[in-house]
């Protein structure tokens, strides 16, 4: 094993570090080809995260355009069709381009370190999982520039609108196919790594919770992504080859698409949420200086959520019409998810109970997650109730709900993860003062943006419409100002991360956190390019 530390910014060849047996101990090839051809989980994890950051800003600019248009009633900034393209692509890019890749990036960096593996099980395929994403994003963004523009029917791709749209829609369909292939390969890799590459003594129930949540997430991805591929394939054949899947004239049904889509779409919610739960389950114990409360129940709760997530899809479709028995089934099944989720929230709070707490930036984001995600969970329960949902379907209440889950849930947890692990990745501590600023600006900006949207929705403001009634003007202005604050404060995050990667800031110890435990903290910060070439011993 090399003793030289080549961190992210400093690819070096470690002289004399390799033996004649093979070339594992080589440093990376230098320059651009290092990143194109790499089979190193750390490099690939870094690329995933930087790519996610780029998409976070592309999707963010789209959000800013949406909020600029909604700043005042009337049409000021963009035309309605472009507005609809922005809402649709904002959703797709944030979900498939930002949130999912950033958690795969964490998985790539952390899982091999956490279970004592030398790398991911399939290192070359790992590279392909990442390098499939840029072409998909090129297709997505490129769809804006073709005749007829991009998808403007919302990220849910519902026919008949999506059957009627121009060639931008075809580009979106193939982008979804490629991103799906990337997710499936990535997930097979993660599952195989966890099941097959653990160091001796690292039993499944000794694994850090982050690995457990990713194991279950990967299962969800493998089960859900092919279904989405099937759904968009049917869209494609309906568009170009004269099939009638979603066409009632030929015996099909547009609602069929909604069923297939949400059979993917609801597990997708947990695909995003479970790794976030995993991160929070690492961060809260570290800053409470106590082991995670109820580890085993946490594992079973995660698995229960995953299984239930396949049985609740039609709660997205109450308003399209379904038999009362169906509505009742999906309502109760949805409410049932609150039980394992409640177990998790209880365990996080119980972990903090009587802990010696400190509130560094990762912990702040984890606490922000805990409050706001739980709030998003509550509004989810409200929306699970059929008669309420029929009132609130397609209003800003729904927008507020899922942004509490996706932004304050997944994104805040991703921030917690970056601040928690960036000393490990770069060997440098982040700027704590700036980190705290980033948290509080995000917290305030986020709540200004989305809390008021609950009221807008309850008052009946519909989503995906660029104009609105005068009565909604004040709250919309508050929401837009909040969004600009939230969006602007993310530049601070880029600066903080950049400082660490550039190598300025205090040097990080192998374990910069008092309470953090696990194999990854036994390695130097940053860890050598190749770690655990021989298995570590786990007690």
């Amino acid at each position: 094993m090399t003793s030289a530390t080549h961190g992210l910014g400093h690819p070096q060849h470690a002289p004399g570090a390799h033996d004649s047996h093979d070339d594992h101990a080589h440093g990376p090839p230098s320059g651009f080809m290092r990143w194109v051809s790499t089979t190193n989980h750390k490099d690939i994890g870094t690329m995933y995260m930087l790519f996610a950051l780029m998409n976070f800003f592309i999707g963010g600019v789209m959000a800013m355009i949406i909020r600029a248009e909604l700043f005042q009633p009337g049409l000021q900034v963009v035309n309605p069709d472009f507005f609809n393209q922005m809402t649709s692509l904002h959703g797709l890019i944030m979900i498939f381009g930002a949130i999912m890749p950033v958690f795969v990036g964490f998985a790539n960096w952390q899982i091999p370190l956490m279970i004592g593996a030398p790398d991911m099980a399939f290192a070359r395929m790992n590279n392909w999982s990442f390098w499939l994403l840029p072409p998909a994003t090129i297709l997505l963004i490129g769809s804006l520039f073709v005749p007829g523009g991009s998808l403007s029917a919302g990220w849910t791709l519902y026919p008949p609108l999506t059957v009627q749209q121009g060639m931008g829609m075809d580009l979106v369909i193939f982008a979804v196919h490629i991103m799906g292939a990337s997710s499936i390969m990535g997930s097979i890799n993660i599952i195989t790594t966890i099941l097959n590459m653990r160091a001796p003594g690292m039993t499944l129930f000794k694994m850090p919770m982050f690995c457990w949540t990713w194991l279950i997430t990967a299962f969800l991805l493998i089960a859900a992504m092919p279904v989405l591929a099937g759904a968009v394939t049917m869209l494609l054949t309906d568009r170009h080859f004269g099939t009638s899947f979603f066409n009632a004239a030929g015996g099909g049904d547009p609602v069929l698409f909604q069923h297939i889509f949400w059979f993917f779409g609801h597990p997708e919610v947990y695909i995003i949420a479970l790794p976030a739960f995993g991160v929070v389950s690492q961060v809260i114990p570290a800053f409470s200086r106590k082991p995670l409360f109820g580890y085993t129940s946490m594992v079973y709760a995660t698995a229960s959520i995953a299984i239930l997530s396949f049985m609740v899809w039609a709660h997205h479709m109450y308003a399209v019409g379904m038999p009362a028995a169906g509505q009742l089934f999906f309502m109760y099944a949805t409410a049932l998810i609150a039980v394992p989720t409640g177990v998790k929230v209880f365990n996080w709070v119980a972990t903090m109970w009587k802990g010696s707490l400190t509130f560094e930036t990762p912990m702040l984001f984890a606490c922000g997650f805990l409050f706001l995600f739980t709030l998003g969970g509550f509004t989810g329960l409200v929306l699970a109730i059929v008669p309420v949902d029929i009132q609130l379907q397609d209003t800003y209440y729904v927008v507020a709900h899922f942004h509490y889950v996706m932004v304050a849930g997944a994104l805040f947890s991703a921030f917690a993860a970056v601040y928690f692990w960036i000393p490990k990745w770069t060997g440098r501590m982040y700027d704590e003062t700036l980190g705290k600023w980033h948290f509080w600006l995000s917290m305030i900006g986020f709540n200004l943006t989305f809390f008021v949207q609950h009221f807008l929705g309850l008052a009946g403001m519909p989503r995906r419409i660029p104009d609105y009634n005068l009565q909604f003007a004040n709250f919309n202005m508050v929401s837009s100002l909040g969004a600009f604050l939230f969006g602007g404060s993310q530049l601070l995050f880029v600066y903080i991360v950049y400082k660490c990667y550039r190598g300025s800031g205090e040097k990080a110890a192998a374990n910069p956190w008092d309470g953090a435990e696990g194999l990854e903290w036994t390695l130097p910060s940053p860890p050598p390019y190749h770690t655990f070439e021989t298995p570590p011993a786990v007690k």
Binding site: H21, H24, P28, M33, V36, S37, T39, P118, D119, A121, F122, M125, N127, W128, F130, W131, P135, L139, M167, D170, L171, F174, I178, I188, I191, T192, L195, N196, M197, R198, A199, P200, M202, I222, A223, M225, P226, V227, A229, G230, T237, R239, H240, T243, S244, F245, N247, A248, A249, G250, G251, G252, D253, L256, H259, I260, H530, E533, T534, P535
Partner: protein
């Protein structure tokens, strides 16, 4: 499980490779070309051709590398276990892909077509009979639906036999009997190719008697389900042919032949899908 089966000396980590990025560029070309083609740009087919050639070139290179690595003996027990896990999960993802189409067929037959014939819709379409097969209320094309007990029954027999011949070939491999392995593997490929030939004949017959992809929801579900299955049989047959080529070159040992086993798993999976197709699409 896994943790105790590793090679204690050293893990296997492959060297950097540019196959992935070439594959990504190929897919980008393929997707762009397909979009251009579907929207009637003259350049479309050419871009697809270039993309497909690039993908093929990349796949041959990548699989070639894996085969060389495997034959040179750098894959230890742990790598083998990893391949087993990953092939299982890959087949599971394929199961879910087919599940989407079977689910669509179920929904159409059980929910959407009967619903189009319910009393409320009688006003719109008084003479629409909501039976199966159906082409929906607005499509009046005449066609003859697929008969289960003709070619499809023969095809079922062919695929089921191919499962048996492949197993006999595997026994030959495990017993070190190369002649048996080659003969039965070859027979498996012949059975698969015959299946595909009959399927092609059946399709052309269907098109001549009016059953097309555009024949309402019956045509849509029939051709997409059997078409994707046929595509998978094609992939499986190509995999079997590669295995035969490797056997001819003397690859594999009695204990080290997971590529062969993975192909067999895949072939059996395709078999099971066919049985479901035969029962649900052709017969019932």
């Amino acid at each position: 499980m896994g943790a105790l089966q590793h090679n204690p000396e050293r893990y296997f980590v492959p060297q950097p490779a540019n196959y992935p990025v070439r594959g990504s560029l190929a897919l980008l070309l393929l997707a762009t070309g397909a979009v251009l083609w579907m929207n009637h740009y003259a350049s479309g087919p050419w871009v697809v051709l270039v993309g497909f050639a690039a993908l093929l070139w990349m796949l041959i290179g990548w699989f070639g590398t894996v085969i060389r690595e495997s034959e040179s003996g750098v894959y230890n027990k742990q790598v083998d276990t990893g391949f087993r896990w990953s092939m299982s999960w890959f087949i599971f993802s394929e199961v879910m892909f087919f599940a989407a189409f079977f689910g669509a067929l179920f929904y159409i037959r059980v929910l959407s077509v009967p619903d189009l014939g319910n009393p409320l819709h009688k006003m719109l379409w008084p003479d629409f009979a909501a039976g199966w097969p159906s082409t929906g209320p607005y499509m009046k094309t005449l066609f003859s639906p697929m008969e289960a007990w003709g070619i499809p029954a023969i095809n079922t027999l062919l695929l089921l036999s191919s499962g048996v011949t492949l197993t006999i070939a595997h026994w030959g491999l495990v017993a070190g009997n190369r002649g048996k392995l080659k003969l039965w593997l070859f027979l498996t490929i012949v059975l698969g190719a015959t299946f595909l030939g009959l399927q092609a004949y059946e399709y052309s017959h269907a098109y001549h008697t009016g059953l097309k992809l555009t024949t309402g929801v019956y045509g849509s579900t029939f051709f997409l389900l059997t078409g994707f299955h046929g595509f998978h049989v094609t992939i499986g047959a190509i995999m079997l042919t590669v295995m035969l080529g490797r056997v001819m070159k003397g690859h594999f040992t009695e204990h080290h032949h997971f590529a062969f086993e993975a192909t067999a798993w895949y072939w059996h999976f395709v078999d099971v899908v066919w049985i479901l197709l035969f029962i649900i699409v052709y017969w019932l």
